[in-house]
Symmetry: C2
Subunit: 405 residues, 2 copies
Amino acid sequence: PIDGQRLWDSLAEMAKIGATAKGGSCRLALSDEDKAGRDLFVSWCEAAGCTVTIDRIGNIFARRKGRDDSLPPVVMGSHLDTQPTGGRFDGVFGVLAALEVVRSLNDRGVETLHPVEVAVWTNEEGSRFSPPMMGSGVVTGVFTLEEILDKVAQDGARLGDELVRTGYAGEAPVDHPMHAYLEAHIEQGPVLEVEGKEIGVVTGAQGQRWYEVTVTGVEAHAGPTPMRLRRDALVAASAMVQAVQRVGLETAGDPCATVGILDVHPHSRNVIPGRVFFTVDLRHPNADTLADMDRRFRAAVAAIAEQNGVGAEIADFWHFPPTPFAKPLVDRVREAAGGFGFSHRDIVSGAGHDAVYVAGKVPTAMIFIPCEDGISHNEVENIAPADGARGAAVLFETLVATAGK
Amino acid sequence: PIDGQRLWDSLAEMAKIGATAKGGSCRLALSDEDKAGRDLFVSWCEAAGCTVTIDRIGNIFARRKGRDDSLPPVVMGSHLDTQPTGGRFDGVFGVLAALEVVRSLNDRGVETLHPVEVAVWTNEEGSRFSPPMMGSGVVTGVFTLEEILDKVAQDGARLGDELVRTGYAGEAPVDHPMHAYLEAHIEQGPVLEVEGKEIGVVTGAQGQRWYEVTVTGVEAHAGPTPMRLRRDALVAASAMVQAVQRVGLETAGDPCATVGILDVHPHSRNVIPGRVFFTVDLRHPNADTLADMDRRFRAAVAAIAEQNGVGAEIADFWHFPPTPFAKPLVDRVREAAGGFGFSHRDIVSGAGHDAVYVAGKVPTAMIFIPCEDGISHNEVENIAPADGARGAAVLFETLVATAGK
Ligand SMILES: NC(=O)NCCC(=O)O
Ligand SMILES: NC(=O)NCCC(=O)O
C-alpha cells in the first residue's frame, strides 16, 4: 500500500544533511544539521498538505485531518537526531516511513476517522544532551519542561537556547493529546537478520539503568612516584570497566553492560590520573535481574575502590523499568505483518525509544525491521530497501486499523 | 651564602601567576600565564644587571659577565612552565634558585672567571605540547628547530605561532655555547623525605619510553548488541591499562609504568566505544630492564587485542636511555653539600629534566631537595623553605667552583 521507492529516495535525501565520511549521518540534537533535517521534514509535510505544530520542547507534529477532527490523533513517529557517528536509518526510518504512510493515504484518497500525525521527537539519542528521549519524556510528564530546557550539552550549549537558535522553540503546550502511538524503527541488533525474519513485532522494551561514576585518586608524577605508593584513578577505573563487562557476561537472559564515556584528569602523559569520570549503561528485560545487576555493579565498584585506595562515587543518572507495549496494538502489528505474508517474530527492544515513554500515557506499539549485521550507532548502519518498504506497509495497515474509517 | 627569604618571596610572587584553586600553579607552556611568568623573570634578571637573550625556540638566557667574557658560560636553570594542575616548585625552584645565586654573587661582589647564566627552557613539561624538554632538546640537537615549531597542542595551537604570540620567538641561534650546566630541582618523589636527607646528589636520570596506543573495535548500540558479539575498544583498552600497571608492579628495581591520557570515541553514553587512544610512559634506571618492560608491554597489548577481537597499534612517541651525569661535577655537588654539613645521598632522577638533554653536550649535574610527601605534578606540591635555601646554597658553591675565580 506504500511507495517503497519514494520512501528510499526521501531517506537518501535526508542522509545528505550531516553526511559523514564513512557514509553515516551526524545530526546531533539541535545542531545546525538537526535544524536542516527538521526544516526539510517540515517542507515535505507541508507539501503533503499537513498542518505543522511545534511544541515548547521542539517536538514537531504534522497533522492530516480526520473525518472527526475533534478526536485525538493517532500519532506515528520517531526522531531525526543522530549519534556523533550515527547511521542513516536510526530514527529517520520511523519518521519517513510515517510520512510515507501519510503520502500514501493522500494518493489513495483514504479518509480516517481520527486525525493522523507524524511526530518528530526532540533529542531521542541523548548524546549531545543527556538523558535520551527528552521530547517524549516532557510530553508524557516523565521530565518537567523547565529541567530539560536547562540541560547543558557536552559542548556547553543550553538546550533552551539551542531551541531558540534553531527556530524550534514552539508555542504549543507540551501535553499533546494522542489516541495511540506507533513507531517503526530499525532493530539495532542482530536477531531478525540471524533468524531471517522480515518484521519484528515489538512486545516492549528492556529496562535500563544509567549511572555516572567518579573515581578520585591522587595526582602525582609518573616518574619518581613508586608503583606501590600510587593511588591511580585510571588503574582503578579500568578495573571497574572490566567489572561492568563481567556483570554483562555473567548475567542470564539478554543483559547489556556498557561504559560509553570515560574522561581522565588532568589528562597529561606524565601525570598519574587523579580523577576519572565514566558512564555506565546496564539493561535487562527482567526487572529483578536488572536490580541484581545493579547490586553486583555497585559491590564491584566499592571493592575495587577499596583495593586501590581510591574514592568512588556512583550517581544514578537515568532509568526506566522494563516496559510492555499495549497488547491489542501489538496484536494488530502481528496481524498486519501476517496479512502481508511477511515472516515475523515477537521481539523485546534492546534500545529505549520515544515509544517507551509514550507507552506510559497511551496505547503504543512498535514495528522493527532488520538492519545489516545488527549494527547501529555506527556510520556503516544499513538496511535493505525491501525491508524498509515492508516496515512501512505494516505501519500503514496498523495505522489505518487504529485510526478507523 | 644565599638569602633564603628573598628566594622564598620570589617563589611566592611567581606562584601568583596562574594560581589555581587548591594552591598550585597552571602555566602551560606558551600560554598567557607562561608569558606572564617569563616576563616577571626577565624583569628580575634585568634588575639584577643581567643581559637577556631569547633564542629561536624561546629559551631565555640571562647573563652575568665573567672576568673572561669570551669563555663559554656556566649555565644554571630549569623551567617555568607547569602541568595543568601543577605545583609552585617543579621547575620554578631551579630557575629562582639560580637567580638567587646571581643576586648573591652581586651582593657579595663575587667575580667569576666564566660568565654565569640563568636559563629558562621552553616547554619542559610536555603537557600542552609534547614531548617534554623541547627547548633543551633543540639546543642539544635532539630535535630540529623546524619539527618543534610545527608541534600542535592539545588545544590546536601551533608552537611556533604561540612563540610569536607571546613575544618569545627570539633571534638567537639555538646552538647556545655552554661550559657546564647545573640544575636544582625538587625530587618529585618520596626518597629524601623518607630517609630524612636534606640534599639529593643526582647521579643521572632513569631511562624513559613513551608510547601512543590506538585500539580499534566496532561501534555499536549499547542496548541491542549482545555482549558476546561486541568488539568493545574500551573493554580491551582497560585490560591494557591493567597490563601496563602489572608491567610496573612485576619489575625489579625502581620501575614506573603509567597511562596518563585515555580518550574514548565516539564518546557517547549508549555507544559501545569503537576507538580508544591512550598514552603509556615506562621508566627504569637500567637499560636492559627497560627493554624487557618494553617487550612485556608490547606482548600484553597484542595478546589482549587478540582475545578481544580488536586491533591495537603501538607507536613509539619519545624515549631517552638511562643518562649518567658528569662524575667530576656530581662529586662537586656532593662536596658542597658535605661542606655545609647537610645530610645527603646519591639518587637517580625518576623524572626527565632539561639536564638530561644538556648532559649529552656539556658536563652536567643536578641538585635535588625534598618535597612534601614526595608529591609533585599536583597542586598541593610543597617544600620547606629551609630545604629551598639549602638547595640554593649547594647550587651557589657548585657554581662558584665550576665558574672559577
Ligand atoms: N534508539 C536509541 O538509540 N535510543 C536511545 C536510548 C537507548 O540508548 O536505548
Ligand atoms: N620534571 C618533569 O616533570 N619532567 C618532564 C618529563 C618527565 O615526565 O619526566
